[in-house]
Subunit: 260 residues, 2 copies
């Protein structure tokens, strides 16, 4: 965790007044992603698993789908850059267009009936409700950086039994992108699997999940109405507000089994 946090002198105020103290805060790192020698974007992120982040970001932008499209990934920690070379090239114009209309907070322009057909998730996986609750509990216990700083989001990949991958990042999109980047680089399947996130569920998160064929999305937090609509349209089971023994299922509830 040393890479991701930093101790700083602060002034603490309590009922007794001011006192000198220390606080652990999360580190914020500017990472530039360079695709085929073209500078693409600078993300602010937690400085860990930068290769996963770069690959996951490119996948979320629809620029790569699988490991065999990638020629080389080089991380340069010193200058804060990841260089990715793909076997196939992309036109500069396409990249520019994607980054302007899509990217963080800029997503829905690519969503159309065609997208819906292409991304529709088919999977018969199901999960008992108590398992959802147990997984979320384990998920929260694993977020060490959050416990130390309160400054990160977390994301995990799970199958119907266990959490397989876990990531934390200052960005809620980055945390999920790191999971998918790791999956692509290590050739770990995402179909018939589950994504858990600490963050709110917007339309962009749904598109990201559906692009990797993930049928179940679990969050501790709230969804938006577009997030719920996309979950219906794309066949994704969307579970929100998992807290203690309770949860809300916003779409495709048939994948969650209860005794009741």
């Amino acid at each position: 965790m040393e890479k991701e946090v930093e101790s700083l002198p602060i002034v603490r105020v309590t009922e007794e007044g001011k006192s000198q103290s220390e606080d652990t805060v999360v580190r914020e790192f500017p990472l530039t992603i360079v695709l085929n020698n073209q500078e693409l974007v600078t993300l602010l992120c937690s400085p860990r698993d930068l290769d996963y982040l770069a690959i996951g970001f490119l996948a979320s932008e629809g620029l790569i789908k699988s490991q065999d499209e990638i020629k080389q990934v080089t991380v340069n920690d010193q200058v804060g850059a990841v260089h990715v070379t793909t076997k196939k090239g992309f036109s500069g114009e396409l990249l520019l267009k994607r980054l302007i209309t899509s990217g963080c907070g800029r997503g829905t322009s690519f969503y159309s009936p065609t997208t819906q057909q292409e991304l529709k998730v088919e999977s018969n996986i199901s999960l008992p409700a108590p398992k959802v609750m147990a997984m979320v509990k384990e998920f929260q216990q694993r977020s060490q950086v959050f416990q130390a700083t309160g400054g990160v989001h977390s994301a995990a990949l799970a199958d119907s039994q266990n959490i397989i991958l876990f990531q934390e990042d200052i960005g809620r999109h980055n945390a999920i992108d790191k999971i998918f980047g790791e999956c692509i680089l290590k050739d770990i399947p995402t179909r018939d699997r589950i994504i858990i996130t600490s963050g709110r569920i917007s339309s962009e998160i749904l598109l990201k999940i559906a692009k990797r064929g993930v049928p179940i999305l679990i969050s501790k937090s709230a969804p938006t109405n577009l997030g719920v609509k996309l979950a219906h349209d794309l066949g994704v089971t969307l579970i929100g507000f998992v807290r203690g023994q309770r949860m809300n299922i916003y779409a495709n509830e048939w994948r969650v089994a209860t005794d009741g």
Copy 2:
């Protein structure tokens, strides 16, 4: 609040099993900002005060500074667009460059020693610690959409006595941009004033605040190390984790007065 939320049928799971229910979720609205007839960006936001959001976004991107630079602002709710016309034009190339290297999650490339000098905030305003706590309490009580949905961030502008403006949005950047947009359109001063936010404090938030000359930034949440560094560099008092009778002051603590 009707515009910003929607009621949806959901399946609720409790200890007793599944039951049909309803939940109120926050609406997510794609808004395209068109500057001088050039489509600039599509933001996902809460569908309220779209003119404020557009103007605040342009200000945060460094494209406008004050009301007298603006010729016209037209909101088209139906197509989800705000058209802004400025007195002075911008080259397409400049806009493109700004949006790729800056924008949400893509901020630090414009930060340099020159930026630091230009943005340095000078203000002798100070605030008693109990006032900070009282303001944060009032701030939380005002967030109606959050209380109904759990799906938004809030932001406020205050002077040393009262909260003056309050906004909620699904995006933590949007909520602050709406505040600044309203200030610009109504010619409300931001110097010697305070911004309160529900969100985490990254370097981008600090740059946004300093661009409007705001000397005190208060958050319920955590800052990042770059956020703290910029607060020191730019002369901003950064207060985080305000909870009950406690808070952490990360930079320029001299603007917070205690008896102790």
